[in-house]
């Protein structure tokens, strides 16, 4: 009985808090919808580049994930009986902003129609269900230039759910950066930095890449993040890059050497609550030496929340499962409440906080029961799986 009263009081305080913030914000409460829709970019921000005539280091392709909760006294996760569509209203076409499609046949051995990504999906379409109570679309070829030609590495997508109970929508930020640039170290008087990379590779590795342009790096160097298995006996792309750049970036003089290659000077890959707390890349990922360690498995050996976070009776990621793939309260994905990796709320970029504001009236993790519950829950909230 006492626990129930505590739970009621806790949710009441949370509800009152959200109402107070809504009034203080002067914003209208979210419109009533039978669904609570959570959508996010799987990686938070992907890196790509405009010119593919010499090298393809990071191809276009963003993965959008969505979880749909049927609001109610006992909310349910919707994994069927609905149509989930996606689009990117302000970044509707990509074909004329990059030469990706001009060189796709040479790079990937497949002809891609303009504005269709490597997985066969375009800039708008329908999501399909995926394991883990998800809806998902992969390889969306969004670029960091909007319809009007403005540089915009934070395109806002539009996800719409149409089900038996009605409609719902969400607006995820689909971070994509073109800041990736090899010019800090490579580049010649008569060629681009990409040419400099190929010349360097030929000189030191005995290859003949200059005569094989355009070159898809992951054809040889495995990159599981884009489904590229590479070739046996050749280091992964992560190892090749981090090991090969180890001495050069240290000599770059940059305070944060990660930014020699990864977006962060102009476009913010890391723009989350951790950054706001002064936590830098190496605090979670380790330094270049750690990244170049051949014992590290790229895209598998990644930071875990439980490395720093703990609380009595609380759970974080499942064993052997990353944050981006784990579930928590009621089977809800961690990313549904907390946001994309590198954009965990409250984010430092105002635009990343808008989905949470639309759902509960304020930024930060989803901590308002009424986002999913139409009545005050009879049980307290625990940061645990299925609780």
């Amino acid at each position: 009985m006492r626990a129930r009263w505590i739970a009621l009081i806790a949710c009441g305080i949370a509800a009152l808090g959200s109402i107070h913030l809504s009034r203080a914000d002067g914003q209208a409460p979210p419109p009533p919808s039978p669904y609570a829709v959570f959508a996010w970019s799987e990686q938070g921000m992907i890196s790509t580049h405009e010119d593919f005539s010499s090298i393809c280091l990071m191809p276009l392709g963003t993965t959008i994930r969505t979880q749909v909760i049927v609001r109610g006294e006992e909310p349910e996760i919707l994994d069927g009986d609905a149509t989930v569509t996606y689009s990117v209203p302000t970044h509707a076409r990509s074909f004329d902003k990059t030469n990706f499609w001009t060189h796709a046949q040479q790079l990937f051995g497949v002809s891609l129609a303009p504005d269709i990504g490597r997985t066969g999906h375009g800039l708008s379409g329908t999501m399909t269900t995926a394991p883990g109570n998800l809806w998902q679309v992969t390889g969306v070829p969004v670029v960091p230039i909007d319809n009007a030609g403005r540089i915009d590495p934070y395109p806002v997508g539009l996800v719409k759910v149409t089900g038996n109970l009605g409609v719902g929508e969400s607006r995820p930020v689909l971070g994509v950066s073109g800041e990736l640039n090899c010019a800090l170290c490579h580049g010649t008087g008569t060629g681009s930095p990409s040419i400099g990379v190929l010349q360097y590779h030929d000189a030191f590795e005995g290859t003949d890449l200059m005569n094989q342009q355009p070159v898809f790096c992951a054809e040889c160097h495995a990159d599981t993040s884009i489904g590229a298995p590479g070739k046996p006996g050749i280091s992964t792309l992560s190892h090749a890059m981090h090991n090969g750049m180890l001495d050069a970036v240290v000599q770059s003089g940059l305070e944060n050497v990660c930014l020699a290659c990864h977006p962060g000077i102009r476009d913010e890959a890391q723009r989350d609550v951790h950054k706001a707390a002064g936590i830098e890349c190496i605090d979670c990922h380790g330094d270049m030496t750690a990244m170049a360690d051949t014992n590290r498995i790229p895209w598998v050996d990644l930071p875990r929340c439980e490395n720093c976070h703990s609380g009595a009776g609380e759970e974080y990621e499942q064993p052997g499962t990353l944050y981006k793939d784990s579930i928590g309260h009621g089977g809800v994905r961690c990313t549904s409440c907390h946001g994309s990796p590198h954009a965990i709320g409250p984010a430092t970029n105002p635009i990343d906080n808008q989905q949470a504001i639309a759902l509960q009236g304020h930024a930060g993790p989803i901590n308002t029961c009424s986002v999913c519950h139409t009545t005050t829950p009879g049980k307290p909230f625990f940061h645990r799986v299925n609780k």
Binding site: Q27, A28, P29, P30, P31, H49, E50, D51, S53, S54, T85, S87, P89, T90, A92, R93, F95, D96, N99, W101, T102, A113, P114, D115, S124, G125, N147, A148, G149, R150, I151, D152, V156, L158, R171, G178, E179, N181, A183, G187, G189, T190, G191, S192, P193, S194, I265, R266, E268, R271, T348, N349, P350, I351, Q354, A356, I357, A358, L359, G361
Partner: protein, 405 residues
Amino acid sequence: MNTNRMNTSHVAWTFALGFSALAATASFSVAGATTYTLEDLSTLAGSHIWTDPGSTAAGLSRSAIVGHSITPAFDRSVHAFRYAGGSMIDLGALPGDLHSMAFASNAQGDAVGVSFDLGEIDVHGVLWPWNGGMVSLGAIEPRDVNAAGAVAGSIPFTGGVAGAVGTKHAALHLGRGTTDLGTLGGPSSMGMALNESNWVVGDSMLADSRTTRAFVWRNGSMIDLGTLGGNGSRALDIDGLTVVGFADTSAARPHATRWALNANGSIASKTDLGTLPGAQSSAAYAVSGTSIVGTSDDRAVLWTDGAIVDLNSFVDPNIYWHLTKATGIDSEGRIIGVGRHKGLTRAFVLTPKNPADIDGDGVVGPIDLALLIGAWGTNDSLADLDGNGTVGAPDLALLLGAWTA
């Protein structure tokens, strides 16, 4: 027989004939006969900066070229520029903003564009008057300005719902305020250009929240310009009653498209402008009279006299330039755009070169005449102005007809 005297008499005789042919001299045809001088606009950070986005030219007027460029700042900020007389000037950003981009310039030389910070919700419209300074235009994101100062662009639209970002509505800004032009039924639209009658063109989502269609807005009415048989389309420029952009074909390939409008705004005709041979796609970005420029599979192109011309065909391959997009053209045939110079993204301007300007100094005068006479009777390609294989009287007539000294 004194050959030299005879030759001199021969030249004098043909010179006299040349004068009489002045009145019959035709202007040089652009297609096939025109050549260009190519100029690299460099960047605000100098010519050797290797950091993208380099520079891009977006707007062209009689007095200047406008666009955006990387700045020398470590933060890789991007600023709008105005380029004239071989000099690129930083137009700056509004106080508190890190970046700016200029998209268009009207006949007077006033430029419009945006000032913004990445990751922020609000993007600010800016007018840079031809005589200096900058004026905030508020929430509108301008994309074009006409001679009367009317601005076409977009404004943020949330429908009154908190957190509903990422959608915009096409807008027309006149001196007395900004008008929301609405959409074709979907959540979002963007205004891209306007003509001197304040007709606005752009693109809008349909009610399915997925399909984007070109539109023309006139006197409160937005009309869907349709496609070439496929799904979507975009309108990117308008000159008088001619609209250009691109539309999807039935094979789902985007092709540059020209729409001719009637005086009441209805569609008179829709033309597929085609692509370069073997190319998958094309898009038209600007129109001036009957000349249209754009891109086809990463190559800057010009459509004129019913033909598509690869502008890279005018560029010496030994100077490491690849023109990727032509973004503007004026009534004098000057073309601006963006390309890769030694692999680095750079704004360019192509200026039609008078073939009679043999020495390329910008003037047709005594030096050109001397060069032509010196090449008399040969097949010198520079002096052979009519392209018949021999330098002779017709070439002399053309040179005299183009005299500017």
